[in-house]
Amino acid sequence: MAAEAHSIDALGQFKLHTALGPFGASVNFTQSNLMMVIAAGLILALLYFGAKPRAVVPGRLQAAAELAYDFIHKMCVDQIGEEGRRFFPFVFTLFFFVLFGNLLGLLPFSFTYTSHIAVTATLAITVIVLVTVVALAIHGMHFFTYFWPKGTPVALAPIIIPVEIISYLSRPVSLSIRLFANMVAGHVMFEVFASFMVMMAGAGVIGYFGAAGPLALNVVLMGFELLVAFLQAYVFAVLTCIYLHDAVHLH
């Protein structure tokens, strides 16, 4: 990545290029999309091979698949209520798509598709469109009372209503930027420390010892990034559930 020894190209890792040779190039299939396909395949494989033994006492893979299922199912029912069962497959898809994107991105030579604002914004807009459609389908025109909380003085209407509308519309922005910024920040730090390590090592024997510092930092950072990968996927899924709860119950 660092072509010249004296400049750190921390953002080059996010550059898109086509994958799968001329076939990918002909349909603009990027390496980001390849990672999405791999993530989707891994999620499906986990559930398929996990559910295959159909054992009453589960093995490791089956326990993992059941844990994944129960975790999201519980999240949906706890956050949304009994109606949450209907949204369970969507929240499951969302959580594991984001989680596998975050985790696969930590592997060397891979690509983090969740570090692209276009990807996270698409997911967030999908969530907000779904939430609005669900709210309209359940409550009809009554949905618009959402922007007018009960018991607010009429005099405050010109302030409250725009504030509520802006806060509603800022949901996809916060959802997408949170995930995108977390992923970008982590990967930029990896790149900066790694480039710094290479630069130090280039400075001779003393540099070898100096390079140990950034190396140790990157090791610590990897642990931290694993946490962030889970946390951000969880935050994304939980916020989706909270928005769905609001859509189903209107406050």
Binding site: I43, V56, T93, Y113, I117, A118, T126, S174
Partner: protein
């Protein structure tokens, strides 16, 4: 129920506050990155390069892959896991039911056993007391007959003794009279009147008997 829901919404509110704070942090980090990006790379962040057709192509492929993943998960993969979980739940419920049935059967058997033991105990006790009563009655009647027989024998013996005694007493009077007559005639050489002797002997015997 209301309290539980209240807790849940309070938790959700606290969660939102934390998330809001996190969002502020993340947003400021993003702004920092976006403004600082040109300092690192002349072309800026590749993520914001919307002139690149790959950026939009990526979104189209994302939509295709995400929808395909959603359909495969909701129609094919998740129902499999659900059926495994359901199978386990039903098999556990069935096992619990069988265990509960077996337990109630065992309880009934134990109760029956206890009842039978109690009944056997009671009937044995009754039989024992009946046997005791019969044997006591038999012993009583036997002892009554034995006593009667003994009483009769005693009475007979007493009667015999009385008869013998009376006979002996009768004989004694005659012997005493004769002896007295003989003694008197030998000593005195004169015969005395038998009736006088008889009277004297009777008086002496009466005196003795009294």
């Amino acid at each position: 129920m209301g309290i539980r829901l209240g807790h849940a919404s309070a938790g959700r509110w606290a969660g939102r506050q934390i998330l809001r704070r996190r969002w502020q942090l993340a947003a400021s980090a993003a702004v920092l990155l976006i403004t600082a990006a040109p300092a690192w790379a002349a072309e800026g962040m590749p993520q914001l390069d919307f002139a690149n057709k790959l950026t939009t192509a990526q979104v189209v492929w994302l939509a295709i892959i995400f929808v395909a993943l959603y359909l495969l998960l909701s129609r094919w993969a998740l129902p499999q896991v659900a059926s495994v979980l359901e199978m386990r739940a039903t098999s556990i419920a069935g096992d619990l039911d069988a265990a509960r049935r077996a337990k109630s059967e065992a309880d009934a058997a134990v109760a029956e056993q206890a009842k039978a033991t109690r009944e056997a105990h009671a009937s044995a006790q009754a039989e024992i007391s009946a046997a005791v009563a019969t044997s006591k009655a038999a012993a009583d009647s036997e002892s009554v007959t034995l006593n009667a027989k003994l009483d009769q024998q005693i009475a007979e013996a007493e009667e015999r003794i009385a008869r013998a005694r009376a006979a002996a007493m009768g004989a004694l009077e005659q012997v005493a009279t004769e002896t007295a007559l003989e003694v008197v005639s030998r000593l005195t050489g004169t015969a005395i009147d038998g009736s006088t002797v008889n009277r004297a002997v009777a008086a002496a015997l009466a005196a003795r008997a009294s």
